[in-house]
Amino acid sequence: MRRGAWVVGLIIPAGLAIVWEIAVRAGLAPGRLMPPPSRLFQTAWALARSGELQTHVVATMARVLLGFAIGAAAGTLLGMLNGASAWAMRLLDPSIQALRAIPSIAWVPLFILWLGIFETSKLALIALGVFFPVYLGILSAIRSVDRKLIEVGRVFGLSRTGIALRITWPAVMPTWIASLRTGLGLGFMFVVAAELMGASEGLGYLLLDGQQMGRADSILVAMIIFAVLGKISDGVLVALSRPVLRWQDTNRIRL
């Protein structure tokens, strides 16, 4: 893609925003349920000025990142354990698969009952949502590592640990990172669910508050900020993983 070609992708959203702004200003549309862009800027600016926006963003991001860290660590460790040991696999995987069949949101009432309505239950929900894609991703990646490359390790004298570190791990890396990205996306999904079930701060709270107050503008501001935060977090994850995935860059694909 040529430099700057991405601008094309802006045509539709920017065009719609301009058309909507003009329509509302000209009195062709009411704009109460769907405020024009200028209104959203004002709302966002006011929220930022009062420091409220920062509080919400920090609260939400802290939940997502902590929940993500817990879920991703648990998923990675259990996935590695079950990928390394057939015995652990037989013992643990059926239970994990059974739990996976339960839609994660269905845990909410039980988490609240067990852990209260404050942070712990929220983190538990987010961690649970992140856990499954990471666990499944790393497990299936470990199980599909090319046996031929493992044999290379054996011929050149690697121990079992050596093979795990120098062959299995790098081979699994791309899938692992892809599963972390999926997990992070789900983390954002579940933070909304967690904050909608009751919170005094966070972007989810802003959503709920906007609904109760009939303020479409704060709802939309919260939604847009969710999108921006999600995109930035994913971008950071991709940037962090780039050095270790350089070998995989798909610029030159051979048949």
């Binding site: 031929k148 054996r154 790098p170 070998w247």
Partner: protein
């Protein structure tokens, strides 16, 4: 300086396929032995047993008189596909084969072998950026970096065009002259066997056995166009015909006592 003795080797796979029966091969120090035989006669199986990647059902394999049990530091291999590790640069792939060397020596040897296989300046590239022939050169360098006593090659050039294959024959022989490993090489290609080997072992299938062993008494470097070269090739072809003739019917036995259609 390593001697390889394969004695009474048999291999029956878990599904009951008898891939090898009673195989005896003695490879002297620094000798090149080519194993020739049709598809399914157990050539790959035999190499895998020597490499320690699978276990024999019967018999023993010994290096310098010591029976093997699993993989062995003195034995390295080039597979039919390059099998480079895609996340390591070409030079790091070569170095991977020298894990038992000290780090400094490993680096130095990786760099010199890279140049030796004609890829100086390509050390920082990724394997997928190399052609098949270049990848196989790296695989050869990786197999040789650790001073192996025994080098195993399983049809290493069969996927390459005749030009590349011929140049890799020369490369392999140059490296062999320099490092003198004992070489066991599996091939389908009669000419390749005659160019490279000191001895050719012709195998026969169902189950895989040694049909006969032919010495190649041609001076090196060998001239593919010399009449003596042709003569040797024809002797090998006769041995192959005999192996086909003796194969049980239904397994590609030539009708009428051993006149194969491709002579």
């Amino acid at each position: 300086m390593t001697q390889l003795v394969v004695k009474g080797i048999g291999k029956t796979y878990a599904d009951g396929t008898e891939a090898l029966r009673g195989v005896d091969i003695h490879v002297g120090t620094g000798e090149i032995v080519a194993i020739l035989g049709g598809s399914g006669c157990g050539k790959t199986t035999l190499l895998r047993l020597i490499a320690g990647l699978d276990r024999a059902s019967t018999g023993t394999i010994a290096v310098d008189g010591v029976a093997l049990n699993g993989t062995h530091a003195a034995i390295s291999a080039v597979f039919q596909e390059p099998r480079l590790l895609p996340w390591l640069t070409t030079e790091a792939n070569i170095a991977f084969g020298g894990r038992r060397l000290a780090a400094a020596e490993r680096q130095a040897r990786a760099a010199s072998l890279l140049a030796r296989v004609g890829l100086a300046g390509h050390g920082a590239r990724w394997p997928r950026e190399l052609s098949g022939g270049q990848q196989q050169r790296i695989a050869i360098a990786r197999a040789l970096i650790g001073h192996p006593g025994v080098l195993l090659l399983d049809e290493p050039f069969s996927a390459l065009d005749p030009f590349t294959r011929t140049s890799l024959h020369d490369l392999l022989l140059d490296l062999w002259r320099e490092l003198r490993p004992t070489v066991v090489m599996v091939t389908h290609d009669i000419e390749e066997a005659v160019v490279l080997a000191d001895r050719i072992v012709v195998m026969r299938p169902h189950p895989g056995r040694v049909q006969e062993t032919l010495p190649v008494d041609l001076p090196r470097p060998r001239d593919r166009l010399a009449p003596a070269f042709d003569l040797t090739k024809r002797n090998v072809l006769r041995a192959i015909n005999r192996s086909l003739a003796e194969a049980p019917s239904g397994h590609g036995a030539a009708a009428g006592g051993g006149v194969s259609p491709w002579v």
